[in-house]
Symmetry: C2
Subunit: 522 residues, 2 copies
């Protein structure tokens, strides 16, 4: 096999889960079908899929495998159940919900995290994925973290470690590979590596105490891969971000932690890397630092050129390449084959989602919080905040957040980034039921940099117009706002934003009716 | 074969194009998979599909056929190309656009309508449909019509007839069945039969002059089915709506127009019928009046019970049943088989959509109207009106209507039914680029019953703040608003609302850049 073909096996390209070129949501980042066919024929060994429904994913995975000249690693960022990204599969509450449970009931939390992993793995496999890019092993000890937040398994190192381990066991036990990320720990940052290169000021002692235990636990559980973080850790490497740092990958991850399976970069197309090093050199530096797989190179051709040049010039040894290829094949050998047809996979999925609805529901119930007494007194305004109302998977037209309050006379009003600034006087003067679908940084989405919800809740309370409060997503926002409320105001929180979470939250607030009459609880 | 089984063949049930029960958007109307399997095993002979992408539809059609005990009629309301409802297939401008072209260039319009039909038929067949519920043969001679509007092929009887004929020829030439609707003509109503029973005061002389010619043209072209309208026509039948009227179906359609193929009811679940007659009796009355197929009975079991009772009691003759079954089988015999696997069908679709992009583009260009000079001067506000921003297929996150104006400094702001009343003072005081995605009744969506856009345009002009105007959809709204504008203000109109229409409209207004850089023009 030619050197270039061997190198191509190490690339993981991004593609849309939709089947037709014109359905791509981000054509600037997602290869067209002609490009995919070209690269897969050239020997590219992995694809990361984003977008599309479960049914589309099932077709797509088989199509890609058919176009490929080598067995593929097919992966997706399905950290919160396959349904988080591929509609039709099970969509679970974010992991941090179990981090909360772990604080007072570790045994139950660990059992649920294992079931969470199993659910994700089984459904991924049915659809055709063999590699799930989770668990997120970062410890979310910085509530202002804009990018990890509820994706983490805990706010403490202990919870994150115990649950990452259990998730990995459940996941990989179902026959797919896992991926512990983002090494050596992305929890304690307040900036977003999608946009810039965050800096972690900690030294090895601190990393060993806080950031590394979840990775050690996942490695101990046999996790098949570790994903690097686009972070600068001057105490370990003053020059290069973790993704490109031999000190972090070779020294810390391989030697000190003894990790011998696949190391994969985070997406090299991300600004923090691509703008500094260029598409080709970023790939070469990552490989040089110890990465086996190159995820989403900004330019696949340039990455192959740079890697090939490194071998021709003697910068890399063939033993090093052999090692990476071997690790990739060893990983593939651990996977269970998916059902051969899409329809078979979907029939399996239908049975699985029915079986997993108990888990989904248990996770929702365990992480539900509520106070006050309902139902809210209407008629009034049902003010719903979402990041983006366009194509919002949490809000189908018959979402409980819309239709339950309507049954009590609350008229829905959506506010999002495209709705302009929120003015209290534009809300009329009746009661307001406030529903906030806010994840990540609770301060995000306000033009003035403050927390507009605290102010709005304060003003509505002052005018005795707050009929109720529902928070979906951020536990930080919930803690902050629920503390402001007097006991008579119905309020509830779920870490999940999906319709089933809305159903449960609104029921807790006295707005639910029969839970089984709209199909969202299954 | 049992009587009940034979009767079941005449039912057409509604099902979601999505594959999994939990993906149904309207579970109260869409049968679950268990229900579908039950009814198909009982011999139900037709399914109407709504929702899902092209890929999901391709899987679903094959799944339904596999569950069925008889070859199925599989239909959908894809009046504006299969992509209108199933993302991934070609989405064409509404038919009325060609009605406009037909006024000054009948030859070109007829040729395009034929290609429109061919495009729709080929793509439907590739995905697994064998019956397209079009052409809409209604003459849209009432601009206030809330339900037909741009779905019609013309505002005059001549245009509607010529184009309905050409569409039918193109459609059925590709191997699928067509359906002329809504007999005897739904164009001249100002109320919506989804909500109440509209009344048409015309007599036969007037119907023969205006409403009937498009149906005659489609019948002459060999259309395989005619769909009845839920309308009261006292001059023909003082008691019963067309769907349930022997005078309309037997006398007018069968005898006077000589139509011998399939007569199908419009959805019996619609309020105008279901609330008056009940699920069972509505089906029996429709059959008695001359309908062969019962579309979307409010309750399939009740419909079968009522039909069966009618035979047992001698209300219906077995010859009449034999006739309907024969017509159904004769229709099925006219269809071409779809590719046997979903992936085969999707591969065909991919080639077809590439081939049909020329037609899509030509239809858009032919129906584009513009005036004034661009580009609009930013920075300012990009105010976009849509009916519903939630799950709006016309507005993916990278829709030209959002991103093109942003490139010139216009900040997007969405207004829809859930955004609350529009207040001019909430728009700040800079320039406003106004984009209206409005179809159907131009007055819809305003609380005060007037036309808020006329007033808003007037106020913005008065304040010299109107930077530009784009109208997508209603030609009536465009005529009304464009007449208000001085020549220096860039403004354009497309009957289409899809991203490719936005690209073209904004280009005409000086807001486009390279047309090929976002994939929407294909």
């Amino acid at each position: 096999m030619s050197l270039r073909r061997q190198l191509a096996e190490l690339l993981v390209l991004r593609c849309s889960g939709h089947l037709l070129d014109q359905q791509r949501r981000y054509p600037q980042w997602e290869a067209s079908n002609a490009e995919l066919q070209h690269w897969l024929a050239e020997g590219v060994g992995g694809v990361i899929l984003l977008g599309g429904s479960a049914a589309e994913l099932a077709l797509r995975c088989r199509q890609l495998q058919q176009w490929a000249s080598t067995p593929l690693l097919l992966c997706a960022d399905v950290e919160e159940g396959v349904g988080q990204r591929f509609e039709g599969a099970s969509w679970l509450v974010p992991p941090l919900a179990l981090g909360g449970v772990h604080q007072h009931n570790p045994t139950a939390a660990i059992e649920l995290a294992r079931a969470y992993g199993r659910c994700t793995g089984m459904e991924a496999l049915a659809l055709g994925l063999n590699w799930v890019l989770g668990p997120v092993c970062d410890v979310n000890n910085n509530p202002a973290n804009p990018v990890i937040n509820v994706r983490a398994w805990g706010e403490t190192s202990e919870s994150a470690a115990a649950l990452s381990r259990a998730f990995t066991e459940g996941l990989q036990g179902s026959g797919v590979l896992g991926c512990a990320k983002h090494f050596p720990g992305h929890g304690d940052t307040a900036s977003d590596s999608h946009l810039e290169l965050p800096l972690i000021p900690h030294n090895l002692t601190r990393l060993n105490a806080v950031e590394l235990p979840p990775f050690k636990a996942a490695i101990d559980a046999g996790v098949a891969s570790v994903m690097t973080a686009h972070l600068l850790l001057p105490a370990l490497d003053p020059k290069r971000p973790a993704t490109l740092s031999p000190a972090v990958l070779e020294q810390l991850l391989r030697k000190e932690l003894g990790f011998s399976a696949l190391v994969v970069t985070d997406a090299l197309v991300m600004e923090a890397i691509s703008s500094r090093y260029g598409a080709g050199e970023a790939a070469a530096l990552a490989f040089e630092a110890g990465a086996d797989l190159i995820l989403m190179p900004a330019d696949a051709g340039a990455a192959l050129d740079a890697l090939e040049a490194g071998f021709r010039s003697g910068r890399f040894s063939s033993a090093r390449l052999e090692q990476s290829l071997h690790r990739r094949r060893a990983a593939l050998a651990r996977t269970t084959p998916s059902p051969s047809t899409a329809q078979e996979g979907l029939d399996q999925l239908a049975a699985m989602t029915a079986e997993h609805s108990g888990l989904s529901h248990q996770l929702l119930e365990r992480s539900l919080e509520c106070q006050g007494q309902g139902p809210p007194a209407g008629p009034g305004l049902n003010l719903i905040r979402v990041d983006k109302s366009l194509n919002c998977p949490a809000l189908p037209l018959q979402a409980p957040a819309l239709i339950r309050p309507a049954q009590l006379g609350f008229t829905p009003r959506l506010i999002d980034d495209l709705a302009g600034p929120l003015k209290l006087r534009s809300l009329g003067d009746g009661p307001v039921l406030l529903q906030l679908l806010v994840r990540g940084n609770p301060f995000r989405g306000s033009a003035d940099g403050g927390n507009p919800w605290q102010r709005l809740v304060g003003e509505l309370l002052e005018q005795q117009r707050l009929a109720g409060l529902a928070v979906y997503g951020s536990p930080y926002l919930w803690r902050e706002l629920s503390a402001l409320l007097p006991q008579n105001i119905p309020a509830a929180y779920s870490p999940g934003q999906m319709p089933a979470a809305q159903e449960l939250v609104l029921q807790a607030m006295g707005l639910g009716t029969c839970a089984s009459d709209n199909g969202f609880t299954d």
